[in-house]
């Protein structure tokens, strides 16, 4: 019994490949290399462990070369109730991969009646990145972070990836994208594995502020336009989106502290 499909398994991306190939994003066949200035790129995202789970955050800026492509794109996405993907790289393929990942996990859960393990989800994502390798070689790079709360082992976990689908589980924190290096330096100083939620929000805002300070392609916190980074907190109870008002308050605290150090406030 089929509605015109032949695939029998539980993976959505395989279903697309077998029966709906025309719906699949396939950018690997491009004849020319896509330059950084031609398509929007997402910049800095980070993830780190804290006492009750993981914190995942990302700025909102997308750039086309030296120009601003968008000031408020979203780079952190919930993939299900207990996992998140944060993306850096060519915005179009990145957002598509996040969407596909979310459908993939939901599809598996519905077909099998049980969700994948957090490890299994990370592994699936690495296959999807590997499938994007031809497109990455054409300049459409997708390098996400994947993080979540492992409900069986009762701890927060996070992974980084490379363009070949290489998957590396991190013990404490990781950041990627153009400002990733600076965010990582910041996290190295301020990160504590036993950080409370309040502290973790502060650590995330500080790292993004540091990255925006050193990297022109990373969007800082834009109080004038009211554009705040996405900061998501994932624990055994699920994912909480940290409200803008709270981020603004923390940010003002960070700025005030910097002012005090310089003796200007």
């Amino acid at each position: 019994m089929q509605f015109g499909t032949t695939y029998q398994g539980s993976s959505f991306s395989e279903l697309l490949e077998v029966d709906f190939n025309y719906l699949r994003p396939d950018l690997g066949g491009l004849a020319v290399r896509v330059g950084e200035a031609q398509v929007p790129h997402g910049t800095t995202v980070l993830a780190f462990k804290c006492a009750d789970g993981v914190m995942v955050a990302g700025d909102r800026l997308a750039t086309e070369g030296h120009r601003v492509a968008s000031r408020d794109i979203q780079k952190v996405f919930a993939t299900d109730s207990h996992s998140l993907i944060a993306i850096a790289g060519a915005a179009g393929p990145c957002i598509e991969m996040a969407r596909l990942m979310r459908i993939e996990l939901e599809h598996y859960e519905k077909i099998e009646g049980e969700g994948l393990e957090l490890d299994g989800k990370a592994n699936k994502l690495s296959q999807m990145i590997r499938a994007n390798l031809p497109a990455a070689m054409q300049g459409l790079v997708v390098v996400p972070l994947f993080a979540g709360y492992d409900v069986r082992r009762h701890l927060g976990r996070l992974w980084k990836f490379d363009i070949t689908g290489g998957r590396y589980e991190e013990t404490d924190f990781e950041a990627t994208g153009s400002g990733g290096l600076f965010a990582r330096e910041s996290l190295k100083k301020s990160h504590r594995p036993d950080a409370s939620r309040t502290d973790a929000v502060k650590i995330a805002v500080l790292a993004l502020t540091d990255a925006a300070d050193e990297d022109r392609a990373t969007g800082g916190i834009d109080v004038v336009r009211g554009i705040f980074p996405i900061v998501d907190y994932c624990t055994k109870d699920g994912i909480e989106h940290v409200p803008d008002a709270e981020i603004e308050e923390v940010y003002r605290g960070v700025v005030a502290a910097q002012g005090r150090r310089r003796g200007t406030a």
């Binding site: 019994m1 509605f3 499909t5 279903l15 709906f20 969407r99 459908i103 599809h107």
Partner: protein, 220 residues
């Protein structure tokens, strides 16, 4: 044809019934099911599936429905995945098997879609029943398939009131399922498979109620 229909009806009548009830906050799906193999499943954000008859056959239909819905939602938007289109697809496929194949499907299915107050024109619930020969019907308030469906439906016809809270609906559902084992011991809460499409939830509205919660609703 007559033989085929008879054969299918017998197969479906042998099993237990499965019922669907609208309550004030959504749609309740309930079946007596002592095994761990589900008769009720999630299809999409607002759509649930219930099947009776031969497990392998209706579970296959459920999976086909999930694939259909996920591909449609991926190609268009999540709001474009609708219960009516899915029920029609089932009707076509099941009707095809009935006329073409030697053995008809020994199953009946329900497609239930809960309304969304935030989507103008889609606020109402919809319940569709598709039979082994592909005949499709629309139901309001309640719908029963499998086992002694007619008896249960006439019971619910007398008892059902629109706008019941969930607790009342669960109790009424159990009273209805109880009728199948007349004189026998009552249906244990742990042998009930109870799911809801909860109108108030954001996104995926399907939820499987754990036995503890079912017990609470039954006051047992």
């Amino acid at each position: 044809m007559q033989d085929k229909a008879e054969y299918a009806r017998k197969g479906i009548g042998r099993g237990k019934s499965s019922l669907t009830l609208e309550y004030d906050g959504g749609i309740l799906l309930m079946a007596e099911n002592p095994s761990r193999l589900s008769k009720i499943g999630e299809i999409y954000d607002r759509i649930a599936f219930a099947g009776v008859g031969k497990f392998s056959e209706f579970d296959q239909l459920r999976k086909v429905g999930v694939r259909y819905a996920d591909v449609k939602g991926y190609a268009y938007s999540r709001d474009d995945v609708r219960g009516k289109a899915l029920a029609n697809a089932y009707s076509q496929a099941m009707g095809d098997v009935f006329t073409r194949e030697l053995k008809p499907l020994e199953v009946e299915v329900i497609v239930a879609e809960v309304g969304d107050d935030g989507l103008s024109g889609q606020e109402k619930n919809a319940i569709f029943r598709v039979q082994f020969d592909g005949s499709i019907s629309v139901h309001e308030g309640y719908c029963v398939i499998g086992g002694t469906a007619d008896d249960l439906a006439s019971f619910l016809g007398n008892e059902y009131r629109a706008g019941m809270p969930l607790g009342d609906a669960v109790q009424m559902g159990r009273r209805a399922l109880q009728r199948a084992n007349e004189g026998g011991p009552g249906v244990e809460p742990r042998n009930l498979e109870v799911c809801v499409l909860d109108r108030s939830r954001a996104g995926r509205k399907f939820q499987r109620l754990p036995t503890d919660m079912v017990k609470q609703y039954l006051g047992a």
